[in-house]
Symmetry: C5
Subunit: 321 residues, 5 copies
Amino acid sequence: MIVNCVAYEKGRRLQDIQTHEIVDYLGAPDRFVWVALHNPDEEEMATFQKVFDLHELAVEDALNGHQRPKVEEYGEALFMVMHMITMCDDQLETGQVAVFAGPGYVLSVRLHPGRGFAEVRQRCEHEPKLLRHGPAFVLYALMDTIVDRYFPVIEALQAELESIEDEIFVRGTARRSLERLYKLKRQTMKLKHAAMPLGEATAHLFGGRVPALCRKTREYFRDVYDHLHRIESAVDTIREMTITAIQVNLSMVAIDEGEVHKRLAAWAAIFAVATILAGIWGMNFVHMPELDWRLGYPLALLVMGGTCGLLYQRFRRAGWL
Amino acid sequence: MIVNCVAYEKGRRLQDIQTHEIVDYLGAPDRFVWVALHNPDEEEMATFQKVFDLHELAVEDALNGHQRPKVEEYGEALFMVMHMITMCDDQLETGQVAVFAGPGYVLSVRLHPGRGFAEVRQRCEHEPKLLRHGPAFVLYALMDTIVDRYFPVIEALQAELESIEDEIFVRGTARRSLERLYKLKRQTMKLKHAAMPLGEATAHLFGGRVPALCRKTREYFRDVYDHLHRIESAVDTIREMTITAIQVNLSMVAIDEGEVHKRLAAWAAIFAVATILAGIWGMNFVHMPELDWRLGYPLALLVMGGTCGLLYQRFRRAGWL
Amino acid sequence: MIVNCVAYEKGRRLQDIQTHEIVDYLGAPDRFVWVALHNPDEEEMATFQKVFDLHELAVEDALNGHQRPKVEEYGEALFMVMHMITMCDDQLETGQVAVFAGPGYVLSVRLHPGRGFAEVRQRCEHEPKLLRHGPAFVLYALMDTIVDRYFPVIEALQAELESIEDEIFVRGTARRSLERLYKLKRQTMKLKHAAMPLGEATAHLFGGRVPALCRKTREYFRDVYDHLHRIESAVDTIREMTITAIQVNLSMVAIDEGEVHKRLAAWAAIFAVATILAGIWGMNFVHMPELDWRLGYPLALLVMGGTCGLLYQRFRRAGWL
Amino acid sequence: MIVNCVAYEKGRRLQDIQTHEIVDYLGAPDRFVWVALHNPDEEEMATFQKVFDLHELAVEDALNGHQRPKVEEYGEALFMVMHMITMCDDQLETGQVAVFAGPGYVLSVRLHPGRGFAEVRQRCEHEPKLLRHGPAFVLYALMDTIVDRYFPVIEALQAELESIEDEIFVRGTARRSLERLYKLKRQTMKLKHAAMPLGEATAHLFGGRVPALCRKTREYFRDVYDHLHRIESAVDTIREMTITAIQVNLSMVAIDEGEVHKRLAAWAAIFAVATILAGIWGMNFVHMPELDWRLGYPLALLVMGGTCGLLYQRFRRAGWL
Amino acid sequence: MIVNCVAYEKGRRLQDIQTHEIVDYLGAPDRFVWVALHNPDEEEMATFQKVFDLHELAVEDALNGHQRPKVEEYGEALFMVMHMITMCDDQLETGQVAVFAGPGYVLSVRLHPGRGFAEVRQRCEHEPKLLRHGPAFVLYALMDTIVDRYFPVIEALQAELESIEDEIFVRGTARRSLERLYKLKRQTMKLKHAAMPLGEATAHLFGGRVPALCRKTREYFRDVYDHLHRIESAVDTIREMTITAIQVNLSMVAIDEGEVHKRLAAWAAIFAVATILAGIWGMNFVHMPELDWRLGYPLALLVMGGTCGLLYQRFRRAGWL
């Protein structure tokens, strides 16, 4: 589905155009066409492949939704794949955006549901001075938006980690903490696999041999790179703390176990003493004077209760109860 | 065994030829010969070694089935070793394919059982425009096929991991989960050792100093490289989640243990109290008025039952039972 | 808020100047202006952006308090972001300092509370010979001060680790050690994420292609780099020992558990023997001669006590009690 | 001890020569001398040091048996140290071979017991076409032999790992598995420290700036490098699976513990019920009608036995017994 | 404190000189002055700073005892910091040596107690042929000595590891092993942080762009580098085996726990059976014929003892006792 197809000149919107008109706008030095597609079918893609002379392998990748984030050069053109990641009801959802940028055109191909990029176009059109940089600036604007959308995700993951950390030293929550930690780890891996390869790829757009298209917008790509680095180091922290938290969780389970054991042992000792005493006075010796005392029974009960009480107190003081 | 031996010109199949005819087709600029062998004996290999002037070390490697995946240059020719990995009844099976590609020839040597490459030849012959690129394109087509066959394997491993994850927080499945996780780790290592060195090797076919043979097909090799990278990052995720899952499994065992302990302890307490009461009324004091009551016995049983019931309820409420 | 705005010539303080006067001092070869801002608002920044011709992206970063430490070149100018880390009541507090340094100016932007840099200015003004090196030396002086402030933090963390190590082999402190270790790990990660990226960035200021601005002060930046390296290796040690300590902690919990088990088991055995003996003499056989002995009862108690005492001694000798 | 001292010309053996004759054979373009020493004393080494003009530091290393595997250039000459590793009765034994190779000579110095290289000399003398490449080919032949001798070791380690894996999920073998895993890890480290540095060193003999001596035999060294890489990746797999196996082992111990606990708990419950019942009928209430029944006692025993049997069945069904 | 101040010419000792005479010896091509300081005060350092024209930052580092090992170039001069590590009564002690080496001088600054370098000077003076290489050779000799002093330390650590390994599979030593392992890890980290940065730094003295001063002594520095590499790989092994040993230790604790549990459980079962039997014969049924038997009591005791004996044997055979 074609979402938009607009021609620009010197950074200013000229007009919405039809697919077949695109050719008229290609080749002019200050002009470029910016097309946005959403879940296109193969036929649509074939049209644009012809118009913009896109490489077959790149087109395949744009249609297939399971690519790694990457930046590839095809002659003077660039092909970029990015993952869109959003937090929906505690679940991470992934979409894919492929962008073809060459002299005179930008074509973005968005797959799967997920927020569109209307705001990016709007923002760009408000800054004609920057949009004059042409397709590279549009590419930057798209990257910047996608990467900025990672931040709420990382913040949600950090918040989740902090909430687990509050719970981890509390008794009786081990199982739930564990499930949450496992899920957190899984989600962090997903974010990492979106951000890290993109970071590596972006590095080529401002350092070393920079593609001709991006030469005037290097600082912008470096800025995106920097954001990706921040995400990576946040991911790194979450990952490492998650591992630690899982180990701590296990230790806490063991410590709690130990405390439960002590409590049980204390009670067992108390019961055992009472049982022995009852057993002693239940013996059938003929000559057991206390058995004949009038107050023998209540005294026996007192002794039993007293001993148990004493033990109870001692265990209490030792912190076992 | 010679599976196929076909001569091509300008990307089109000329005809099936005999081994001794090969020399007639070598040296012509637009022609090349594509030979496919399966479990060849030393003699067969010796013939082709002479015909194509293959290096002795490469021939040895092609016949010996335990090579690392790699790409080696011998003058203008390339020698590549790849692992074929297939999932058979829950087990990973490994085969080896060695490919010699030089100006004017491609020779593929397949060892061990495993699917052949008839489909690759067919597909290539349907695209003469691409097959014109010559041996390098055939090399690409073989790589692409082998690497594409890794994807069902990685998907099977991912599915296995997800199935284990569903099980891991369920009680009483720890032993089985553990066995499955161990096996999963082992299989993932196997896939990793097939994909990773191949990825490293492939990088030399499109970046840096590219061998002359591959110069026009760089983008294709980059595509294969990209697929290998996707596999690597999937392997990476599986590996890391497996490690985490094993730790989680251990924690779950400890947590479950703790819960079993509590349940047992609760029952022990209940039994202990009943035992003490019975012991008390079994004492032989002369003056134990309740022993003489007409309803003493039923009352005693009631008291015992009642106390046990009370304890039961309390433990229940505390979540121990 | 403008903290200071001073013009310097040949390393000597000329005078405090107003924002609008800055332009008069730019461009002169031996002069430079050093401005210090604290939590500036967007308007203030906009003024300086115009005066010093700062890049829009750098200005954004300086105002936004969540940057990664980094050094970026914008033409001849440098833009650096650093984290200030201080230990306040057992908690790490982070602030951010951004420094713009170009030919003829240095602009430092400090965000969040945190110690200022009055001492840096003072120290610089006392060494006009060094301050002659211009903005690069000021940049160095700021970096040096910030990095030197990391050392008390790392020392506090090392002290904390040592204090935990003293505790870790002591019984009954497992839970507290664990909480402290977890917190220590978290804080160490924070310091690492301040120091490590800064170290990487600083490396570009003395090795390889050094920015023109810093060429005469290379050795100074190498010195800062060296300090950052020391911090990194200290962080590395803390991190690794923390991981080990957490594992040791778990083992100690298990060992302590085992010892508690043995103690309990010994007591259980002692009680069990007494219970059995009482049970035996409580049997109702008609012919149990000892029941009729005059000293039967005291003897029975003696036997019970003696057996228990013997067992107690034996367990004691075995180290179970 | 001089094992051999032979002069070669154009790849063919000329004759055995004496130490003092060596000088006569040096300097001739197609000739070289191949000397093999075993545990030489300092005096012997001093002779050869003079004859071949060896560097003092290299000679020291050759005599001292605790070197890291390495390749060093001294002018036009190469000095290589390798570890020989053999499996003797379940133990790894390490020897050291140092090889000096320069224009016109190869000198191998073997320390400690260990298989000699007579087979290498024989094999080389059978292929004069290859031996014509001179000292570099001899160097290759020695490396190839040593590295090939690593394979039986790695296979033994893999076999040991597989045998442990079969055992690890079996009950009651935890302690033995653990001892075997620990030993396996230790031996794997040894092999790794023999193979890995050698691999790094070998890389310089075929890639980048290759020493003049080896320029014609690059492909051979690449082949050795490839073998070393295979060993490394096998070592890597063993290492990672060992770590996993140790964790699995711990989990299995915990799981087994849990099962033992359940079994014990079940028996404890059965015993406890019987004890309570006996206690109840041992109470001294006057009015306990069943005590007077003629069949009271057998009935009581039946009830006790029945209850225990019922419990037994229930636990059995729950999988606790 | 000045330990020595000697002038050398063509590798031969000229004479001991005074500080103020040093200038007379500087600048002559074949001469150099070698000064050794121990714990110098700032004034002393200031003198030498002037005489040798040392860089302020380097002098600071030499006086401050907490530097990372490093090699820095200041113009034609080199500045090196090394850690001296010695094993004193089971504790590692660290000292610092800073060496300034430039054309015509070597100045070594030793801080903290620790063995001096008189032997180095002696050894150097015995080899005038080598000492002719000038300051670089002295630098090498100092490095070589310091690095050689690491070997006894690493051997002590290896011996400690082996001694712990012998203990780790023995029962009842878990706590002590753990304390030793933790300490071993700490000490290994210390050695690593002395050797590793020095290794990195040394690499620049023989490979790549070598400082002019060291160009003729490259092989010597490579030798030191090699020694450092051996230490690193030994450290690596100790570190990895320590981690494994800690895990094994935990597993052994769990296994031992399990065995203790089984033993206790067996005894509990034996006691429980005896208790039940005593309870049964203590019941008050009127018709319990065996109670009236003359031999009832001894028979009962026999039955009790027999049952217990039988159980004991069975548990024994099952390996629980």
